[in-house]
Amino acid sequence: MKIEIEHLSRRFGSMIAVDDLSFEVNAGEVLGFLGPNGAGKTTTMKIIAGFLAASSGRVRVGEHDVGRSPLAVKRIVGYLPEGAPAWPDMTPIGLLHFAARVRGMTLAAREHRIGLLVEQLALREVLLRPVETLSKGFRRRVGLALALLHDPAVLILDEPTDGLDPNQKRQVRELIRSLSRDKIVVISTHILEEVEAVCTRAVIIRRGRLVADDTPDALAARSRWHGAIGLRLAEPVAAEAFNGLDGVVDVEEAGRDGRAWTLFIAPKAQGGAAVDKVRARLAASGSSVRELWLHRGRLEEVFHELTLEPTEAA
């Protein structure tokens, strides 16, 4: 099972929402689909889910072409649309049974799956309340239950944790992680920590075009924070204390008391040798190190640089 997106474009009038986008997602992957607002994430997901047609290019899910056999694709895809829409006068239990009936699930299968999802997503207390009276967090979880209903091989989730509180976010992330062994999961999100927490791969798009496709770690490693050394000292020092250190390209004070510092290291000099040199220098100047750590890199910064609009950069 895989999703193949080949030269996908989608125009709305003269506006190009998705511009010659190509990538693949394989089983077992959790793909984080990132980009600033209006970059074309939602449009791409709508096309994969079979709601919108592509202007050109094609999308295949498993062996089915979304354009040619949308029904077959919709059977194996679970989709959470942006904003988790639901009919306001329906109850979660009514919604779930409706979707299950449309999907042709038998009564026994329906009750089993719905029971399971109600537990997993903690929906029991709101099952009989109209959706319009539910909080944003509950609505989102009802939407997730709808997407997961038929235990789909492919999950397309447009901002699955939007509107959830930190505990609920964590639950949903755990749920996604627990699902993903043999499934394909594509999630779009603004929250970069989420990508680091659940995604095995991140695709970043900007103005409908792919600008990066890598693991979250590899992406984070592109930032100047990657391999930077964090320090906390017993006594305050001035920035000049680090002057002339090999491989240090920049020094920034991390706290306000002169005790915490970040030393940015040139890519070639990163690693143990740089740490040893810093230690040696500090020992020589008589400062004692309380803590020392290495930064992994900051995805946020890489995201910002990759998606910066030319006008903003200028």
Partner: protein, 244 residues
Amino acid sequence: MRAMTAVMLRELSSYFATPLAYVFIVIFLVLNGTFTFYLGGFYERGQADLTPFFGFHPWLYLFLVSAIAMRLWAEDRRSGTLELLLTLPIRLREAVLGKFLAAWIVVGFALLLTFPIWLTVNYLGEPDNGVILASYLGSWLMAGAYLAIGSCMSAASANQVIAFILTAAVGFLFTVIGYPMVLDAAYGWLPQVMVEAIAAMSILTHFQGIARGLLDLRDLLYFIVMIGGWLIATAIVIDLRKAG
């Protein structure tokens, strides 16, 4: 079929979960009574038939059915539930038909609840119950035609008020082109063939045909084509306008 039934049942329960169906039915019955007895001179005519009752139906439907039809698709488009519905494994035609049937059933139910007037004429005299039955069928078919027009207009606009106005306007057009006054005026400056062609398009002409008690195949066919045609147009419009 399974998916269509599921959509129809969902819609039906939605009509009755909100005040919509009840308001529609009550207003329909009250207006029917008022029109029939006061404007239609039901008693004064001294005839045991339901002609005044059915005579007002085209005008009642023109705005009541438009009101029930306006939300068919506009609401789903606006709230995003259209996306939820159409990313389930369902054919567009099943969704269109399911929604239409649910609304048609609600209208049919309201129509059935006018049975006291049928009891009244049977108490007062000896009406031709065959004609009354045919008229009920014709009235329901006519409601279906207005509803199918409304379905298409609702699909064309995410704004319910606009959908309502468009439905009433198009419905009005399809109604008045069968009116003798309009046809007489047209005879003056149009060839007879064209006037007859226009008259043949009218909902009113075909309804009156059935309401006279003549179940002409052409009248039935007209309503089937009318409903089918507008529903196909609905599906096309939804497909074209999904993005917007």
